[in-house]
């Protein structure tokens, strides 16, 4: 019965989405308030019904109701409860249900929290959101019904891919989707603004919290995904330029550009049509990502759905939404008024370069991601574009971006004094050079680019802190006064400092763990010792263990340094009999300075397991944890900015009381 309730709730949600697609937007053009306000109720109702459907599916998973096909295919009665719950969104159907749930959540969020947004804009935005919702709900119900039933039920389920049985992964898709799908509402705002023909400072501010929320979730999602790859896959890397990673990274790059260009629209009434275009493109890339992953175009760990019919449906949706919105843009954008003027050297100029670099970087990733697909489709040639391409094309774009990023916050609006800024940053530049020299002294060789990157990351970190110190006049005035100034500073300013510093910290991690990584792949007998990055690792053999739904080979590695005991590492290889697959559980000793990472590969040869000989992979990755710390700072900075009081201002009802104060006296 429960699955049927979910099914009916989903049908209701689709019907409501259809009404919401039409009524509010018609109301906005006819000036009919009742129709406009209907958006609010239907957006909330959509969330409620999709929520009921999601809960019904989740309940089917938690009690292992094998009359639901989706549960049969993606769960097992013996699975730990956490992963039964995560199984809800582990499959193609479930993850799409989560997709529409988040879509509805953002719609309902605007309906509920966007009290300061004028009725007409809100109505149009929510109608556009409902178009997307209608597209995906119909996709779900017609091609990927999560509530398809089986009767009589099979005795037990077919398990979830054990590789996906990991806490990091259980949380990764929801967060990633929050970001991905969150940009839908920004897209809806942009399309609504195009229909309305009006983009101004107020529009930019109404959209800002939603952009920030989506950006934060996407940042967290990507970081968690990379963290998962690092800890679970056992390859010892945190980013592989895998297409599935790329498709989440592209919306992030463009979303970051959007976040910055919207500031110019808000503060200076400029970059309007550019901001709109970015909003459209960001979500288009999210859709492209959904298409690439969900259509099974790729065969990688993530792409577990392989079905051309579904692919064509998403491709249709993709073409309709991207083509439609860009046509609308081409038609309406030229009529938008230009905004404030500015000199090349100014805050606007800096943000413009930031935007250009980010867009070029996105283009690079896009080419690298799609090129293999095109050659395969057109020339029937399977090629892969790997890290060398991305390292050679992406990094040279990012380094100038990081350099300018340090300077940007010092520049004033309209026109700025670059010479003055450099004068203030002389000391920072000196320290950055010294930092690179110090690293050069401490390490035994490394690529020149790595030393340059260290210098640039230091430059960014120190300049960002310097800017913050200037704002609160730290060291110029007594400490208590500086502290008071810091408290008076808008939270968005603190947010920027945190996020920029976070990126600098993450860059240290990127550079350290790629340029100075040590790796040993060895064939060992018990008792063998391996020396790596100053550690001595002794292999004490492998024993068999029994887990809840797997059996494991567990190796014991004793780690010493200069004769002193440090720790014992237990890497495992697990095999899951029901799913007939194996996973690698790496053992990691994690410190701020770096991670010592050990994983157990297959027994060295047939019969070698009896003699106790195994292949071991041991890595030392310096500074790798800085990546996650930096990512956390980025998210924290976004959150701080989101909590800024100003994002809640702009309720029309308050305008009456504000106006007298605001009327100019001169």
């Amino acid at each position: 019965m429960i699955p049927e309730i979910g099914q009916f709730a989903l049908a209701l949600a689709l019907a409501i989405a259809l009404v919401q697609s039409v009524l509010p937007i018609l109301g906005a053009s006819r000036g009919d308030l009742v129709w406009m306000r209907s958006a609010r109720a239907s957006a909330l109702a959509q969330l409620v019904f999709i929520g009921i459907a999601f809960a019904a599916l989740m309940r089917s998973f938690t009690v292992s109701d094998f009359t639901v096909r989706n549960v049969v295919e993606n769960s097992h009665s013996l699975k730990p409860m956490l992963f039964k719950i995560a199984g809800t969104w582990g499959s193609h159907e479930g993850s799409l249900l989560l997709w529409v749930l988040i879509l509805a959540a953002f719609g309902a969020g605007v309906a509920l929290l966007g009290t300061n947004i004028p009725d007409a804009l809100k109505a149009r935005t929510l109608s556009v959101q409902a178009w997307i919702s209608t597209g995906f709900l119909s996709f779900l119900l017609l091609t990927s019904n999560p509530f398809e039933r089986v009767f009589p039920p099979p005795p037990d389920g077919n398990d979830l891919n054990p590789l996906l049985q990991d806490v990091g992964l259980a949380m990764h898709p929801p967060l990633l989707y929050f970001g991905y799908v969150g940009f839908s509402i920004v897209f809806s705002f942009a399309v609504a603004a195009l229909i309305e023909g009006r983009v101004d400072a107020a529009w930019a501010r109404w959209v800002r919290p939603w952009t920030l929320a989506a950006w934060m979730s996407l940042t967290a999602g990507i970081a968690l995904g990379s963290w998962w790859a690092y800890y679970e896959l056992g390859w010892g890397g945190w980013w592989f330029w895998d297409p599935v990673e790329n498709v989440s990274f592209m919306p992030w790059l463009l979303g970051t550009a959007l976040l910055h260009s919207a500031i110019v629209t808000e503060k200076r009434d400029a970059f309007k049509s550019w901001t709109i275009l970015l909003a459209i493109l960001t979500f288009s890339l999210s859709l492209l990502g959904t298409f690439i992953v969900r259509s099974g175009l790729l065969t990688s760990v993530h792409a577990f759905a392989v079905d051309p019919e579904r692919g064509l449906y998403i491709l249709g949706l993709l073409g309709l939404s991207i083509g439609g919105s860009l046509t609308l843009y081409a038609w309406r954008a030229p009529s938008m008024e230009g905004g404030g003027l500015f000199a090349p050297i100014s805050r606007e100029g800096g943000l413009l370069i930031n935007n250009l670099l980010l867009v070029v970087a996105t283009g690079t990733v896009l080419v690298g991601t799609l090129y293999p697909l095109f050659t395969e489709a057109l020339a029937d040639q399977k090629i892969s574009v790997g890290p060398p391409f991305f390292n050679a094309s992406f990094i040279p774009i990012m380094l100038p971006l990081l350099m300018i990023m340090a300077v940007g916050p010092f520049l004033s609006w309209k026109r700025a004094d670059l010479k003055g800024v450099f004068q203030r940053l002389r000391f920072v530049a000196l320290l950055s050079g010294l930092a690179a020299l110090a690293v050069w002294y401490l390490t035994e060789g490394g690529p020149a680019l790595a030393y340059l990157s260290i210098a640039i990351a230091t430059w960014l970190l120190l300049a960002t802190l310097r800017e913050w110190a200037t704002r609160i006049r730290l060291f110029d005035v007594p400490f208590a006064q500086a502290f008071r100034r810091a408290r008076n500073l808008p939270r968005a300013a603190h947010g920027m400092t945190l996020a920029h510093a976070g990126l600098a910290v993450a860059v240290f991690g990127f550079v350290g763990s790629s340029a100075w990584k040590s790796e040993e792949i060895v064939f060992v007998q018990p008792g063998a010792e391996i020396a790596i990055a100053g550690f001595d690792v002794r292999f004490d053999g492998v024993e068999q263990l029994q887990g809840p739904n797997y059996t494991a080979d567990r190796g014991t590695l004793v780690v010493m340094r200069d004769g002193a005991f440090i720790t014992i590492l237990y890497p495992e290889r697990r095999s899951y009999p029901v799913a007939q697959s194996t996973t690698t559980e790496s053992a990691i000793r994690s410190t701020l300075a770096g991670d010592l990472y050990a994983s157990l590969a297959e027994p060295a040869a047939e019969g070698a397991a009896q003699s106790g000989a195994w292949t071991l992979r041991i890595l030392y990755e310096p500074l790798v944890n800085f990546i996650w710390i930096g990512s956390a700072l980025l998210v924290l900075g976004g959150g701080l900015s989101l909590s800024d009081r100003r994002l809640r201002v702009g309720a029309p009802r308050r305008s009456a009381t504000l106006k007298p104060q605001a009327t100019p006296a001169e």
């Binding site: 309730i5 099914q7 308030l33 400072a201 107020a202 503060k267 029309p652 104060q661």
Partner: protein, 388 residues
């Protein structure tokens, strides 16, 4: 219960859709006022920043002037704006959607849903699992007995074990059970085709060379074996020869006499393959129009007609019918139902020897039937009665 919940959900949806009617008399929040209030807020910020010394006096002055200019231009434009109105008709539309949404959702649900299926949590299926355990226990005992049998275990025993494994979804075990008897001299065509089916199940529907060999052997023994023919067609299709696969399926269907349970699967498969080839669809009616229309035999109507005849005439009539049937069966020896009718007719006529022969011919054909087919039981019973 389910329908009550559905009704409440539908009601909830309708109420949600009616909620906006509350705003029939409220004021619209205008775009201009919204923009002005944000700009006013910006003015205050700039002033505050200037007071705190975050920006210089000149910067503040320039920013203030710019923002004020924007406010003024906004207010100039807004004088043309029309106030919002809500006509009575808009309420009617809202009521209509509140009615339509539950109906549309209901219609969609009827297409997709299965309201009669209960939910069955894993924990509630204790009894079923116990039964499963019992079956598993029985199969284990059967396996042990067959393995300990010095003669290698009877062929039927191994096949029963294999079929049980198949039903349990343990295809690999089914293959190893059947493997014990496929090389024996008493391995029939049906045994070989079941063995092939098990191997195909292990490989998720792929016909491997080993399975193909078993199919070929089964077809050598009995070219009409439907299961072997079916999997041969699948193999041909998987090898890319869809034409041959389609022809094989429709060819076998063409030789069928009267409806049989295997025909549905043949027709579905033939249509699946035919679709990619652009062939016309086939249906059961093409191959098995109605029972007995052109398969002569003593039907109910014939027997009713004979009731009006004299004893002698009747006997002669029945005999002529039976002779015609027997002649036809010489040409079409695979008509199971025909053999059964013939056997029954001979029994009625008191010719026990011939009846036994007809039933024996029928029994040979039952090997390709699923074991649950009621005809198997009827034939066995008839043979037992005739032997006594």
């Amino acid at each position: 219960m389910l329908w009550i919940i559905f009704a409440s959900l539908a009601l909830l949806a309708a109420i949600c859709l009616l909620l906006p009617l509350r705003s029939l008399r409220s004021d619209i929040s205008g775009r201009t006022e919204g923009s002005v209030s944000i700009l006013s807020d910006q003015l205050q910020e700039v002033r505050a920043d200037a007071e705190r010394g975050l920006i210089t006096k000149e910067e503040a002055r320039a920013a203030l002037i710019e923002i004020k200019r924007r406010i003024l231009s906004l207010e100039r434009k807004s004088q043309h704006a029309e106030p919002a109105r809500s006509a009575r008709s808009s309420g009617i539309v809202v009521w209509a959607t509140a009615l339509m949404v539950p109906l549309a959702a209901g219609a969609l649900y009827m297409q997709l849903g299965s309201p009669d299926l209960p939910s069955l949590a894993f924990a509630e299926r204790e009894a079923e699992r116990n039964q499963q355990v019992e079956i598993t226990g029985l199969t284990e005992r059967l396996l042990a007995r067959l393995q300990s049998d010095p003669g290698g275990g009877p062929t039927e025993g191994w096949m029963l074990l294999g079929q049980t494994y198949m039903r349990m979804g343990r295809y690999r075990d089914a293959v190893s059970a059947m493997e014990n008897v496929t090389e024996r001299p008493d391995a029939t065509s049906a045994i070989l085709s079941q063995y092939a089916e098990a191997m195909i199940a292990v490989d998720d529907g792929i016909v491997t060379p080993a399975a193909r060999k078993a199919i070929a052997a089964a077809r050598d023994m009995d070219p009409s074996n439907p299961a072997a023919t079916y999997y041969e067609a699948i193999a041909l299709n998987q090898a890319g020869d869809s034409e041959a696969a389609h022809d094989l399926l429709t060819g076998r269907l063409g030789t069928a006499t009267g409806p049989a349970p295997w025909m549905e699967a043949f027709i579905a498969q033939a249509n699946r393959i035919g679709e990619t080839l652009g062939r016309d669809l086939v249906s059961l009616a093409t191959f098995a129009p109605t029972v007995n229309r052109d398969t002569p035999g003593p039907t109910a109507a014939d027997l009713a007609a004979s009731a009006d005849m004299s004893e002698q005439d009747r006997s002669a009539f029945v005999r002529s019918m039976v002779t015609r049937l027997a002649e036809r069966l010489q040409d079409e020896p695979n008509d199971l139902d025909g053999w059964m009718r013939l056997g029954n007719a001979y029994r009625v006529l008191g010719e026990m020897e011939k009846a036994r022969a007809a039933y024996a011919a029928a029994e040979r054909l039952t090997e390709s039937l699923p074991s649950g087919d009621p005809r198997v039981q009827r034939i066995r019973q008839a043979l037992t009665e005739l032997r006594s």
